[in-house]
Amino acid sequence: MTTGFEKAQVTQPSDREVKVVRSFKAPRDLVYKAYTTPELVKRWMLGPPGWTMPVCEMDVRVGGKYRWRWRSDDNAKEFGFHGEWKEVSAPAKLVHSEFFDPGDVGGDMGEGSMITVEFTEDKGVTTMTSVMDFGNKRACDAAVATGMTDGMEQSYQLLDSLLAKR
C-alpha cells in the first residue's frame, strides 16, 4: 500500500484564499481522471472516516454542473456541495464554483467560492495545486473555521466522545 508521497500543504496566499498542494506518484492524465470521473471520485473524496458519498453527479464540461452529498455513518445526516465548471482544460486545469448544501447538518458558507485546480507532471510525479477563492476575508475565515468543517466536525466530535467514554 503506497503511503502519502508528499503530505498535503495548506496555506493562505491571501486573506480570501486557501491553497492546497499535494503530489502523487502517477501520471497527470490518471490523476485528472481520478478527479473528474464520478465512480472514482466516490472512492476517495470522503473526508474523515465515518462518511459515505451517496451522491456524486458530475458533468465535466464548461457550463456543466456537479452535485456531491456525503452521509454520516453515525446518524445518516447529509450535507454536500454543488456548482458548475467555468473552465475545463484536460489534463491541466479545472475551474469550478462551489456552493455549500447544508442538507441535514445545517450551517452556512455564504456566497460560495471559486476553485482552481491545476495539475503539473514531472517525471511521473503529478503535483495538484488547488486554490479556493472565497471572494472576501470574512467568508474565507468563516469557511476555514466553521463552515467548511461543519460536516467533518461532527466526525471529530463523535470520535472525541467515543474516546472520552473509554
Binding site: T2, Q9, V10, F24, K25, L30, W44, G47, P48, M152
Partner: protein
Amino acid sequence: MKPAENRLDRTFVALADPTRRAILARLALGEATVTELAKPFSISQPAISKHLKVLERAALISVGQDAQRRPRKLATQPLAEASAWLERYREAWEANFERLDGLLEEMQRPAARRKPKKK
C-alpha cells in the same frame, strides 16, 4: 454556536486586519502601552484603541499589571487554536489524498494483477 466556535470566529476577524496583525507582531517582541503601539501608524490613538478592543475580545492580547500604564501583551493560546483549525482542515484533505494514493496505485497496476472493482 458553541462558545469555542464564537471565539474562533472572533480570532479570525481579529487577524483579518493588517494593522491588528502589525500590533500583534510588535507585541511578540514584548509588552507595550497604547502610546507606544500607536507610534508606527498614522492613525489616531482612539483608532488604535478600537483595534486593541477587537484583539482583547478575541483574547489575543491581555492587559498587564501596571494600572497606570496598562501595557498590552500577547496571549498565545487562541492563536494556536486558529492554526489548529487549518491543521484539521489539512488533515481532512490528507485523508482524501491517501485514499487517492491507493486508487492511483491500483489504476497503474497491470490489468492482470488489479483487484476486482469494489462495490
